[in-house]
Every structure is written in structure tokens, then in C-alpha cells.
Symmetry: C2
Subunit: 443 residues, 2 copies
Amino acid sequence: MSRDAAFTVVGGGLAGSLMAIYLGRAGHAVDVYERRPDPRLAGADAGRSINLAISTRGLYALEQVGLRDQVLAMAVPMRGRMIHATTGDLTFQPYGTRDQAINSVSRAGLNQLLLNAAEKTARVPVHFNQRCEVVDFEHGTITFASPGDEQTVIETGAIVGADGAFSTVRTQMMRRERFTYSQAYLAHGYKELYIPPAAGGGFRMDPNALHIWPRGGFMMIALPNFDGSFTCTIFWAFEGDNSFQNLTNEDDVIRFFTRTYPDAVPLMPTLAQDYFSNPTSSLVTVRCSPWHVGGRAVLLGDAAHAVVPFYGQGANAAFEDCVLLDQCLKTAPGDRAAAFTRFEQTRKRHADAIADLALGNFVEMRDRVASPTFLFKKKVEKLIHSIFPGTFIPLYTMVSFSRIPYADAVEKARKQDLFLKAAGLIALIGLLALVIAAARTLG
Amino acid sequence: MSRDAAFTVVGGGLAGSLMAIYLGRAGHAVDVYERRPDPRLAGADAGRSINLAISTRGLYALEQVGLRDQVLAMAVPMRGRMIHATTGDLTFQPYGTRDQAINSVSRAGLNQLLLNAAEKTARVPVHFNQRCEVVDFEHGTITFASPGDEQTVIETGAIVGADGAFSTVRTQMMRRERFTYSQAYLAHGYKELYIPPAAGGGFRMDPNALHIWPRGGFMMIALPNFDGSFTCTIFWAFEGDNSFQNLTNEDDVIRFFTRTYPDAVPLMPTLAQDYFSNPTSSLVTVRCSPWHVGGRAVLLGDAAHAVVPFYGQGANAAFEDCVLLDQCLKTAPGDRAAAFTRFEQTRKRHADAIADLALGNFVEMRDRVASPTFLFKKKVEKLIHSIFPGTFIPLYTMVSFSRIPYADAVEKARKQDLFLKAAGLIALIGLLALVIAAARTLG
């Protein structure tokens, strides 16, 4: 196979390793270059790493390459939200029907599984400790640097930028003319904390739920890990009221958590230490266009559309990208420019839609899940969905338990909302007529 | 004066040189560093350079430093839009009352005037041929490079990034954490063309108007120059129908212009040559936040908020920035961090508002100015404004002929629009009642 037909995937994370599997299976020559060391050698601490919630879209993408069941075998299904009030009261809000669950899985564990599959099944060489430095789109060369700053220049046919929210491939594209780009940070950051397994093994809280401590403007969540532990994440403002800035010593931390998340504190023996040893990270939304340079390079996953984590769709959307890009390449064999163009034209508005949904869901999770109006609306939606399961589908269900493209799901939900409001109005008028009629009859 | 009190302005364009004047007059030690050579030595072609429309906001900023009259003396007042139909028919749409005009002035001429004032009146040294390369915000150093790549590192108290839409100071800020940033390009670009003065001197078209050839989706405009010439600018899509892409030779150009701008072609003897020798440039909107790094650095003008040129407010907004930043520094003497914070907090939403207005005005200029509904609405607005001059002010008048902050003007215009619609509805109902009453009387 000629050099011009070869693909180079920059980034061996979730999107990069799955795309490499797809490309390898389609018969393309493909190499993966990853900035970090091999996570399988370095012994990543899978138990305490960031969790993902893999749902229908992600599972479909994994199924196409025969990996769905392996991933589900290492996941903990979460069937709804468990809301923790300050009083310690618990309320369970199912996500959908009894058999609909999103699946908590360790990012490191999933990544290792995908790297193994890329190397072993799809015969894709993965080169670690190779930091992408410069991309020459005209000549199709990439300069990588090792940790010791030894440079390697490789020639390639096509570059897949799967190097995440802070993508170097994208930064190199941005130096070209008329690259529309935005990066928007939330005023909130996040920090991970830890609930270990129970003394005799097993979970210290209900494992089949995504736990939320909504506190109005800020929150904590916890996702179950396969080993019985939970990874907690606090989402707080960097500055101002109830912010990271306010807690400066271990006493502050214990006092604040005891007041704010009282039922969680006894489950978190290393709370104060974890608080100060774990980093505080920022939350960014990235949008850009174009996603490709002719048929030479294309971005996917977070590199093309990084989203905040509140809809649990970042990895799912990246996996969906892989399915679509694979299809586009197969539809236009030998014409990568056409494939990349079609990929962006099809996908861009859906990527923008999930970015907006994720931003909106932060407000829902931290504030609205605790409100009676919200719960009432959710119940009405669920009721109508059970009567017209094919016609009326709650937005969360469309996003998490269907493959309806994101923007289409948003549009459908908007129409459903209008319908609900109209139906409510008609019901109200009917009720009023009834009351008047009754009053007349009785009067 | 200690190094810590000194200001370094990066960029000796319009915003940078005016800010230097303000800083110098306020008694600060200040230096200006400019990437390009001294325009006064290089002999810039003032007649054919980009025009600006200086209006009330810009004139006010110039007046505070005693430069208003000098600038007006080199400007050509434009009292309205002159719409050129394909038939050659002309329609004049006044901008406001008879004495309200926006002022066409050469960018190069204005810049030279400001540089002279900075050096001579405000005693600010201006260093040319100094390209900003690296900014170290922690240590307050800037590395400049000469055209021969000789590097100079200077130490400073505060950095004013006035280095335009592609600001290096901003790019350096962007490397810091949580910098929210967007650059959005239009699908349209622009190219400048030329109408020389009449053979015996004087203007070949009405000099006291901004000429527009609206063609639905694309357009040409022309602004008068002091020497009797006009600078024309075509705003066309890069690709697709009626785009730059379509014209590949001089015959194409003449044919297309003759069909599209027939009355202009006889006035443009160098049309075909200019078309191919002048560059096609892109149109970008830049938004970012924060605009400052503590009390160490602050952005202003295009560096903080580059806008597309369609409201004629880019330079006016930059000049208004200078007035506000000067005020903020005077309000918080010795506390630059407080001054810079207040500057951004006060100004950011107005900068966002003018960016949106400028994008919206492109559609107005190229499409709506030719529509009868638009003209009717403009006339109604003007009528009501003449009855209630202090209460009801058309948006264009607020933006161009007042100093009402941009976002406040937008909000006021929104309320006025609602009022107009309500009044229209009431008038319609009244008319209907009248017709019915008349029908009954007659019947």
C-alpha cells in the first residue's frame, strides 16, 4: 500500500483507538501516535480514574467492532438518578424503563481494552511517548517529539486528529486562514474525590444509580466503579460563594462538606487529603470549523467538539463520530476529501446540539432535579411516552437510549414541549368549562 | 518614575496611539511598540488606503485630547446612504437630521495624526519595526524582534495590548488557563477597488454619502476620500454564486461588474487590474475574556473585540475604550488590577453588542436597504423621533450619533420596536372599527 493511502491517528485515547480499529478493519494502513506512555505498562489506577457513562450510541459503535459485551462486562449499570437532599433523604428518578441504563465504566479500563483491540485484532501499531508538535498539511508530514525531545518526522496520507479538547492537530489547523474557532470555559471547575468499597467488599451506596447532591448553583455527583468504590466529583465555581477559593485548610473542607453533603462525609475517609492532593480542573466547550483540511486531515471527538460532561455524552459522541467517519470513507472510496466534507456536513450541527445540551444539563443537575415542577414534568412525559412510545419520547431518552441524531432529538423535543403546553392549556380550559358548568347546575 | 509604574502599549495603530496619548497626558511613563515601519517615513498611500467612518463616539474621544477639529478637517461628511439600483436609479436615505453625518477619513492619515500627537504632544516614544513575540505576564517582560530577528527584551509595569484583531498579546494570554475565546469568519471576504477623482478634480459621485450597491447576498460600497477619489469595497462570498471564486480573468471581471454594478464601471478605469492586484481579505469577529491579566496587562480595541466593518463602529468602539480605560485608571489610582477589572466589567457587554450589530448590519446593507418595507419602517421611525426626539431614537441614530452604550441602545431599540408593533396593531384595529362603522352607516 502506498504512503498516500495510509492513515495516521494522532491520539490513542478513546476516540483515536476506536477509530484506528475501524480503519484497520476497513483495510487501511494505519498507525496511532500517543503523547503519553502506554497506560497498560504504567499501571494506571483504573479504580480511581474518571468514569464515563456509556449509553446506546457508544454501545452501538462498540458493537460494530465486536467489543460491546466486553465493555458491558466491566461496567456498572445506572438506572436513574439518586438525589441526595441535605436532610439525607433519597429520591430515585429512573432514567427510562426498567431495562434502560447508562453504564459507568472506567476511562482507563476502556482505553486499555480499545488499545488491545487496535493492536491485536486490527493490527494497528501504537507508538507511545510521541508528542505531536507540527503538522504540515501541504506535504502530509507530522513532527513528533519524544519526552527527551528527540524528533521524528513521519509522512502520511491522511491525519486523523483525535487528540482531545486541547488538540495540537486543531491548533495547527487554526494557523491556516479563516478557521472559525471557540473555546468557552465555565466559571465552574471540578475535582474528583473518593468513596472506597465497604469493609467487607461491596458498595456503600446503591450501585445502580448516578448519585447527585444538587445544591443550587453547585453540586457533587458520584458514579459507581466495578470494584465497589465510587468516584465522586464536585462541580463548584472557582471563585465566589461556595467556591474552591473558599476552602483553604482541612478543617474548612470537613466543615463545609458536613454542612453541605452530610450523608456523604462518613463514606469518604480520605476526603480532606483527597481534596488537597487532587487537582481542580476546568470545563471547556470547543467548537470549530472546518473540521478537515481537504482530504489530508480530519478532526474527531473532543478535538472537533469538546463538550462539558453533564449529559454523559462526550465519549458516546466521539464513538458515534467513528461510526460516521467509517461510513463516509466507505461511501466515497478513494476520495478522502469528499468523505471528510460529508462527515463534517452531516455531523457538525449534531455536535453543536450536544454541546448546548451538555451546558443546559448542568443547570438541570445542580438545580432543577430537586424541584417539584421538574419532577412533575418528568412524570407527565413518562406517562405520555408509555401511551405513545413511538411518537412521544422524552429528550433524555432520545439522547441516551436512541441513536436519533442530537439536533433532530432537540427539534423533536421542542415540538413535544409545544404539544405538552397546548395540551395543558386545553385541559385547563376544559376544566374551567367544567367548573363553570357545575357551578351553574348547582347554582 | 519606577519601572513598575510604566506602561508599554503594544501596537501603534489607531487604538494604541490614542491610548498612548491618554496615558501620556495622565502623567504615566509610556512607550509604544509597533510591528510595522513608521507610516510617516514609508509614505503610505493615504488616498487609496482603507477608509473609516468616524462618528460621535470617536469624535468625543478625539475631542478629550484636543484632536477633534484636526480630524474633521481631513474628513468628508457622509449624511446618508446612496442606494444604487441595477438600473442606475439612485435613492438617498439620510442617516439622521441634516447636520448628522458620519465622517469618511483615511485610516493612514488618521494614524499619522495620532502618532504625531503621541510623540509631540504627549511625549511618548514610539518604537517601529518591533514585532511582539513573547509576553511574560508574571515578570512583566516582553520580547520584541526586529525585521532582522534581533531580539529585545523590555521590562514594564503594565502592558496594553492594542495590536489588533490578530493580537499577539491576546494569543499569549490565551496560553494561560481558562481563557474564553472565539474567532468567527464570515463566508464573505472583501476587496478594495478604486474610483479616481474627476479629470478636472472633484468627485465623480455625490461625496456626502456612503454609496451602496445592494445586490442581495453580496454588495459593493464606496466611501469618499478627501482628494476626490472613492475607495470601493466589494463584499462577496469566497465560494459559490456571485463569489470571488467565479472570476478568473479580466474579461470575467468586466462582464460581471457591467451586469451587476453598471453605473460604477465607467468610473473605475483600473477595475480589472485592481481586481487582480489587490488582495481578498477575510472578515473576522473576535470575542474573548478575560481582557486582562491582573494589573499587568489589558487588551483594548480590536485585540479585545474585533468586529466586522458593517456598522462603521470598529474604530469608534476602540476610541471609546480609550476614554473608558483612562477613566478607570483615574478612578483607581495605583490599583491597575481594579482599573482593568472595572474596564472589562463595564465594557464587555457593549463590545459584544456592537459585534452582533455589525454582523446584523451586513444583512441590512446588502439586502434590506433596497426593500420598501425597510424604507417605510425607517420613515415611521424618523417621524416618531421628530415628534418625541428625546424618547424615541432610531437604533442607527443611537449607535452613530449618541454615546449611549451599545448594549443599552440595543435594549432601548428592542422596547421601541415592541412599542411600534403595538401601536401598529392598535392603529389597524382602529382602522378596522372605522371601516365597519362606515360600512354600517352607509349600509
